[in-house]
Amino acid sequence: MNSILEILVALLVYPGFLFSFAVGGIFYWLYRKVRARFQARRGPPWYQFFVDLIKLFSKESIIPYSAGGSLMVLAPTLSLTSLLLVAAMMPVGSGSLVEFEGDLIVALYFLALPALAMVIAGISSGSPYGSVGSGREVSMMVGYEIPYALSALTVGFSIRSLSLSSIVGYQLENGAFFLKYPLATAAFLLCLLPKISRRPFDAPEADTEIIAGPLTEYSGLLLGLFELANCLKWFVIPAFAVTLFFGGGANIVEFLVKCLGLVLLLSVIDIIHPRYRVDQGFKFFIKWALPLALIDFVRSLILP
């Protein structure tokens, strides 16, 4: 009985749902605040995201007549669930909730699901903006998922283990992987930008072109769930990078500080760039990120 309670607390409060939600919310606010200060604006207060959520949750969700209703409901839940599962697998501080050999592969799959959920959302919403957004999301995914997975596997192949906790353990003893595999790290960091749909690779959600892309027809609770997933992304995706390349953290504070550094880096890149067109963004990943990832991947195969 006691152990079930412990698991529930771990899953729902710390280091599970509530914790990652709160940290993600704060990171998202930080991005918005930094962006605002760079642009000579004041920026939102720290609780802005949370009040937005409360507002969205208290509003009606409208599902258009032309939309595929069940898929439209499924998409945000899929996005949210997969991100929560990755959060549960992440070795934060003492260890992760779920641990097994090969969880790196599973985490990579789950991290691809939010983008897939966006594609489903766009197509099922029955809006032309949504379908254009989905098409863009798919072509971006083809561009960035390969270097993303390759550079993540580089780390696993290097120590001949696909378990996240052993990757962190190895880094705690031998130093972080970004020193050993700088090219793979660079490729991985580049792929984080489209993963959290930031400039210059935010074409799928380009507001001046296709309004909100896949999310155009969403409202109320369902949009709130997508916003929740978005805020989780701000924690999970940098945290995954920290786990793989920046040595995780001996304790939770160190881990969060590293995540914070990454969030600031991503924010600054977002602030100083205009938006690439989707074909240009795709080309960028094939031209730069893929070769970088490949070089270090081959290196990890030959010289572990």
């Binding site: 760079f38 642009q39 254009v132 935010d202 507001d207 760039h273 205009p274 067109r277 074909d279």
Partner: protein
């Protein structure tokens, strides 16, 4: 198979209501239709019901961003009808305000253009620098947007010695900001990738469509009313008319960028040469029976006013041809063959202004037919 992607009537890329029905195949635009008319306000009709003097205020409200352009053009046309010439100092002050407003308009446009391609940081910076320009306008005219400086036969407010110093310091600030834009245009590769070779309007097409202003000059058509048919203080001022040959969005950006520098130069010259004397004529005659035609180089191109007088204190007809009326026609040829992602920046590249463009369409609900009111219809309505 093509599908229809609506841009408008309300869309984040558009700052005013207009409807672009784009036929797309995937991302590529293969056809389209443009529809205006959401912002019609009946200004031309209203102008015939007000006195010549009140119409200055009306003309100023045709467009928000080029307000002094409209009032200057209207005043000059009516002055031609009255056969009077405003004092030299008034002409110089008109020129200074005119060019300062061009700075404000172009900086605003730079901001909007950056926003369309997702460069929000640059957008915010442009608008911050634009505040200096608005500061000049506020000091000189007492207002920031609808400036209210023109009156028939002169201007209403003087540039005091205090203001002269302020204009000089603010201009230096603006010039520094403009230099920053130059760095941005030269160095930012992502920006270049988005605007280069996009939305091409070749020279012959531009001449055929009769486009005006920076849109024409970006396509190598060398026209500028300020030089070709000088008005106000422009005959005494030396400036260049920037022309770019390539006709893509980048050329239109570069034309506007160089116009910013020219405007700063013109304001400085006009400030140096500012003659003394009265601000406005004391007595105004009634306009003679007849008609007059005036044009100025607005920030978006040639603006035309036609005023017909029947000898009373109200114009019989006021016709306004804003530059966007002609420029909007060039949008469709530019959009064809491009991608949806480029549509917003192409739309923005001509700096369209829809509210001053819209003309009325009559819809007969019984017979369900639509009819656009043309100039000849209106003329017939007046004569019969």
């Amino acid at each position: 198979m093509s599908s229809v992607l609506p841009i408008g009537p309300f869309h984040p890329a558009l700052k005013e209501a207009a409807f672009f029905k784009l036929e797309v195949e995937g991302e590529k635009i293969v056809g389209g239709d443009v529809k205006f008319g959401y912002m019609h306000r009946g200004i031309e009709d209203l102008a015939t019901k007000k006195s010549y003097h009140s119409n200055i205020f009306l003309a100023e409200r045709v467009c928000g961003i080029c307000s002094t352009v409209h009032s200057t053009c209207y005043s000059q046309t009516v002055e031609a009808l009255m056969n009077i010439d405003p004092p030299e100092r008034a002409k110089y002050i008109r020129t200074i305000v005119f060019e300062t407003e061009r700075l404000a308009s172009h900086l605003l446009w730079f901001g909007v253009g950056m926003h369309e391609i997702g460069y929000d940081t640059a957008y915010m910076y442009m608008w911050r620098e634009r505040e200096h320009v608005l500061g000049i306008l506020e000091a000189v005219c007492g207002k920031r947007v609808n400036l209210g400086i023109n009156t028939l036969g002169g201007v209403r407010r003087d540039i005091t010695p205090d203001n002269e110093g302020l204009i000089k310091t603010k201009l230096d600030l603006v010039e520094r900001a403009v230099k920053k834009i130059e760095g941005l245009l030269n160095e930012d590769r992502v920006l270049k990738a988005r605007v280069k070779d996009v939305g091409i309007l070749p020279k012959d097409e531009a001449e055929k469509l009769c486009v005006v202003g920076p849109t024409a000059r970006g396509s190598g058509v060398d026209i500028d009313v300020r030089r070709d048919d000088p008005y106000a203080a422009y005959p005494n001022i030396e400036f260049e008319v920037p022309v770019e040959e390539k006709g893509d969005v980048l050329s239109r950006v570069l034309v506007r960028f160089r116009e910013l520098l020219e405007s700063i130069k013109i304001i400085r010259q006009a400030m140096n040469d500012l003659p003394g004397g009265p601000l406005a004529l004391d007595k105004l005659p009634l306009p003679k029976v007849g008609e007059a035609f005036g044009r100025v180089e607005a920030h978006r191109g040639e603006l035309v006013y036609y005023v017909k007088s029947d000898g009373t204190n109200r114009p019989e007809r006021v016709k306004i041809r804003t530059p966007s009326v002609v420029n909007n026609n060039s949008l469709l040829p530019m959009l064809l063959g491009e991608t949806i992602a480029d549509a917003p920046i192409i739309l923005a590249s001509i700096d369209p202004c829809f509210s001053c463009t819209d003309r009325v369409t009559l819809v007969d609900t019984k017979k369900n037919v639509e009819r656009t009111v043309t100039l000849s219809d209106l003329r017939r309505g007046r004569t019969s």
